[in-house]
Symmetry: C2
Subunit: 325 residues, 2 copies
């Protein structure tokens, strides 16, 4: 059998995995509301009217880690480490570049315009004067005011729509809904998939119904591979959108090889390779044009500023190539 | 061999498990600082001076879920579901009852005085007027001002010390440090262990060094039982403290039986039994005196208000019995 034949078989298997994943998943709550909110004619319609567009495009930024429940009435779950800082920072730079952003984020993860605010207890930033007036404690005043202003400007201007997820089931169901909504934008739609997505899960029907009891010695678990949705996103859900995925590894020796393999296998336009130890200051953008290493330009700068600049350029070229420029 | 003999053997085994758990754990960061902060002579010293005590006691409230890393350079981990709402609410009622609280909480979980504030983006609560003045959006003004005032009053009065954890390793190491610090208070110390603590873990030396690769089919994992620290807390770390633990189950049929078994096995003073489906409105306090069912008194009330009232009564009786009243 030749290479093409093998590819077809492998894609066929992948579609079956995806079908069985969705069939066995618990139904997505608020699915209709998400479809309606993420429809460009609804939330971003005013930004995207043909020739007179205020927004240069719509990008779906995913952010934070997905969870895999180990019990149907869930007490325990497997989680993927991700603060959501990358997605939150990138969202700010996409809005600055004129994009409308659908921010698909893990509940409780880092939010755009909140990155410099305290995580646990923002109450420490404020004090109440004369029993009535709220004041920001002095050293933080500038950063808090900037955050409040920029956040309201993005939301009120229609440049930011936030959709939360927790489990891998919710995440993939939301991506499917958003992709279908955005497919009408053709190449002006973008996916920037920075979320840390689970590779393994327990199919719903195999899951323990109640909390797993600890009395009976060690716990043996078998986890199934999550089907690779990137391929389906490209071939089926949003075939014309510009797609950027991320590859995070802890072992630098296999990182670039894995990023290049993802580029080919899932037909991504760009794969951003990053290493756990250095991801805040350096990433490598891998595409068919080659590899571009991006470092943050100063201690206070964000590596996302340069990364988004590069991706916006590549996206513009892509739109031109598709004859939509 | 008689019953006493068996008990000794079983306790011996348990101590060996605990020893090997701590020996294999990664070292606790900031251990010295935690020891210093949680020392009653340091943080709560002014509250606890002999006859003239402002604080009626010190309670260590634990809150939120612990994580179990699956990789040494951790990307994936197992987590226990817990919003931290119970611990945060209970902390507020303990402070109200005159206790100094050491709030040992999962990073990012619900914080005292923040329960009625938005989780994701508190920025929505605020607006900036005339480019300078911050104002709380009208419908939220009362609740935000109350939160800021009560929080500052608790912290500035020396009634609230917050110590964060993420992993099961950090959690148990912090409990040990705090227990040792509080042991000098004798029966006036209390442990209120509301955190959702992992039952299973992967010993550090068995852990994958790098991110587990997903290419090689399903993932089989063997998890080891976390040694039961409640017993060591009672017998070794803080033998005179009043100890309250929690039992959460999803299956109501086994709940009370498991709570009673924990009461006996770990010599707790009270075990609070709660069921996942109803834990916000009902708990059962199980002690040697019997079972007391506690429900919240109205839709807006907290079940913790009644629970803490009952526990404070029981703690006072306990202090009297120990001849310290």
């Amino acid at each position: 059998m030749d290479a093409t034949g093998r590819l077809e078989i492998s894609q066929g298997e992948s579609f079956i995995d995806v079908k069985s994943f969705f069939e066995s998943a618990p139904p997505l709550k608020n699915s209709d509301s998400i479809t309606q909110k993420s429809s460009p004619t609804c939330c971003f319609g005013n930004l995207l009217v043909s020739g007179n567009a205020k927004s240069v495009g719509v990008v779906c930024v995913t952010s934070g880690g997905t969870t895999v429940p180990l019990e149907q009435r869930c007490v325990r779950y497997i989680d993927n480490f991700s603060s959501g800082n990358r997605g939150a920072a990138s969202t700010e730079y996409f809005v600055k570049a004129g994009y409308a952003v659908i921010f698909v984020h893990r509940r409780g993860s880092c939010q755009p315009y909140c990155r410099y605010l305290p995580e646990d207890s923002f109450l420490e930033f404020f004090e109440v004067l004369n029993d009535s007036e709220i004041q920001v404690c002095h050293p933080h005043a500038t950063v808090v005011k900037k955050a409040i202003k920029e956040y309201h400007s993005a939301v009120n201007g229609g440049f930011l729509l936030k959709l939360p997820f927790t489990t891998i089931f919710e995440y993939l169901q939301i991506i499917q809904v958003v992709a279908t909504s955005l497919s009408c934008l053709g190449p002006r739609g973008m996916f920037y998939l920075a979320a840390a997505v689970s590779d393994f899960y327990v199919p719903w029907e195999n899951m323990a119904k109640h909390k797993i009891q600890s009395a009976a010695g060690p716990l043996d678990m078998r986890l199934t591979q999550v089907p690779k949705m990137l391929r389906i996103l490209r071939t089926d859900w949003a075939p014309s959108a510009f797609c950027v995925s991320f590859k995070l590894e802890t072992d630098s020796e296999i990182l670039l090889q894995k990023a290049e393999s993802a580029l080919r296998k899932y037909q991504m336009h760009v794969v951003v390779a990053n290493e756990l130890a250095t991801y805040k200051r350096e990433v490598i953008a891998v595409s068919l044009d080659g590899k571009i290493s991006i470092r943050k330009q100063s201690e206070d700068a964000d590596v996302e500023e340069q990364l988004i600049k590069l991706l916006v350029e590549k996206h513009n070229k892509y739109i031109e190539c598709c004859g939509m420029g």
